[in-house]
């Protein structure tokens, strides 16, 4: 692991999302909420979702504490799932997961070109297998919320 890998992991965009997380706070009238727990490190996030009549994500927010990677990833997640259908959120989660683990190739990501372009800054975690769970914690939670489960763990 080199200093370049580290700079790749902790890019300006990520540090900015960590310091000024978007959509941070509770949604009092959320349709669904779910907690994301990483039992290994104790990080906990709660994701709040509001769906409209067409089952589109109308509003999304999160609260919680965690490392820079998990907070930045949660913040970015909220910016890309807004306006998506339940199926699209599930698909995005799958693609994002593959992006973080290095399983995906570029072509496969075309469907959500704009979203993946945004999320690609998180792909630096590939060099840090122990940190993939940090990046995916909020996604596990949003997946649980949208599929009407109460909690998600990264285990």
């Amino acid at each position: 692991m080199s200093v370049d890998d580290l700079r790749e992991l902790y890019q300006e965009v990520i540090l900015d999302h960590n310091k000024n997380p978007r959509n941070y706070g509770e949604l009092s009238d959320a349709s669904y909420t779910a907690d994301g727990n990483n039992p290994l490190c104790g990080d906990r996030l709660t994701v709040y979702l509001k769906l409209d009549d067409n089952e589109l994500v109308n509003e999304v927010a999160f609260t919680g504490k965690g490392c820079a990677i998990s907070i930045a990833s949660a913040s970015m997640m909220t910016t890309v799932v807004k306006g998506k259908t339940v199926k699209q959120v599930n698909d995005l989660f799958d693609k994002f997961h593959k992006l973080c683990t290095g399983e995906s190739d570029e072509a496969e990501l075309d469907e959500f070109e704009d979203e993946i372009a945004k999320l690609r800054v998180m792909s630096g975690v590939r060099q840090f297998p122990m940190r993939v769970k940090c990046a995916t914690l909020s996604w596990h939670a949003v997946e649980a919320a949208i599929n009407k489960k109460d909690t998600a763990t990264t285990e």
Partner: protein, 418 residues
């Protein structure tokens, strides 16, 4: 004894750290590619050549199952295994070798006390006192016991510096208190708990005491007779020995009153389908094939540290802890958790605006290994008002360079992250 350790005197200035470091292969082999600043011995310590060779030698020349075969190899293995028990008994100054039970870990030993002593002697409404700075391994077994028996858990609070109040502890003892189970040394704060006083007060109340020595035995000399505790547990892998072996010391008269914990081979006298009878301690508590070579490895680790001298190790680690504390305190925004007057080789800390996981990743890029997270002590984290801390823990092989690398790494992390 055949240990290639440079002769050390009782004075720390002659403690030959460079010679000691050469005896730990991982510090040398890995360092050809990368510098190794291993500061996570509190989670598990590295192993010296002496231990590795003893274990390898047993597998190659003296291995078979123990207590079974009427042939030479089995006798050799049995002698080595029982010899290891004797080494542990002498190390703890136990009154009898029969007071030493080999378990799979310290956790295994605590669960044995809960499952045997706890289930046999605790009833609904009885109380167990623990401290607020226990490892999950010294919390959850008592909760499981409570679910089975209706016994209750009472928790002695920890103050800001990481100490427990003996007066508060004393006031919590009642005629319902059947067991006190406390750590000898906090794995998060480094606090050395005044266990001698705790044992005295508990015994005056007619209460049995179990000490969790997973960290304590590594950093200070333990004499179970002087301490007087009814049970003392520790693990091999934090004491420079292998994983897979732990020790339960128990007073003989208590062990003999306790029912078996697990059933299986070796622990029985006679088995029929109607009823079985059991052997005396320690065999009663060692069902199945025990961690044979691991126990021998643990005994080798004990020989290794005794040859260096536990006093020398303590002095070395104390000096290093003082140096590390003062170096870290110079870093703006860094706060240390646990500043007890009586603490040993562990420093937990956080740096303002930096999560310990990010810090750990960045330190790792510079060859510095530290632990980040809740350290299996979530209730204590909650009390301190944090989700996680960074933790540097010292072993006998650490030197000032390790501490300087840690401090420089923290400064580098601040550059990267801010």
């Amino acid at each position: 004894m055949n240990v290639a350790v440079a002769k050390v005197e009782s004075d720390s200035t002659t403690f030959n750290i460079e010679a000691i470091r050469r005896e730990f292969p991982i510090l040398n082999e890995a360092s050809e590619k990368n510098s190794v600043h291993f500061l996570d011995s509190g989670a598990s310590a590295q192993k010296p050549d002496y231990v590795l060779k003893k274990m390898d030698e047993m597998y190659r020349t003296g291995y078979a199952n123990v207590h079974r075969g009427a042939y030479t190899l089995s006798q050799l293995a049995t002698d080595a295994y029982e010899g290891a028990r004797k080494t542990v008994a002498t190390f703890l100054n136990a009154e009898s070798v029969d007071e030493i039970i080999f378990t799979r870990s310290a956790t295994g030993a605590i669960n044995l006390v809960a499952g045997s002593f706890g289930r046999a002697f605790l009833e609904k409404g009885d109380e167990i006192i623990i401290s607020e700075m226990e490892h999950h391994a010294n919390i959850v077994p008592w909760q499981l016991l409570g679910e089975a028996t209706g016994s209750k858990l009472k928790v002695v609070p920890v103050d800001q510096d990481g100490n427990i109040s003996i007066d508060t502890f004393q006031s919590m003892l009642t005629n319902k208190t059947k067991l006190v189970a406390v750590t000898h040394m906090s794995n998060v704060l480094g606090t050395i708990v005044p266990v001698r006083q705790i044992v005295e007060l508990a015994h005056a109340n007619g209460t049995a005491v179990m000490i969790d020595g997973a960290q304590g035995v590594v950093h200070s000399k333990v004499d179970v007779q002087e301490l007087g505790a009814d049970f003392y547990v520790f693990t091999g892998h934090k004491l420079y020995g292998p994983s897979g072996v732990g020790v339960l010391y128990g007073k003989k008269e208590l062990l003999n009153k306790m029912p078996p914990y697990e059933g299986g081979g070796d622990m029985i006298e006679i088995v029929t389908f109607e009823k079985s009878t059991y052997r005396d301690a320690p065999t009663k508590f060692e069902a199945g094939t025990p961690p044979i070579v691991e126990s021998v490895g643990l005994a080798a680790a004990i020989e290794y540290i005794e040859n260096i001298g536990q006093d020398n190790i303590e002095i070395h680690e104390d000096n290093l802890l003082k140096f590390a504390t003062s170096e870290l305190q110079k870093i703006p925004g860094l706060s240390i958790f646990g500043l007890s007057e009586r603490k040993a080789g562990i420093i937990s800390f956080n740096v303002e605006g930096i999560h310990s996981h990010d810090l750990s990743t960045i330190l790792d890029s510079r060859g510095v290994s530290i632990r980040a997270g809740h350290h299996c002590a979530q209730p204590l984290m909650k009390k301190m008002g944090v989700e996680a801390t960074a933790r540097a823990s010292l072993g006998l092989y650490n030197n000032k360079e390790d501490i300087v690398a840690l401090a420089e790494g923290i400064k580098f992390a601040k550059e990267i992250l801010t």
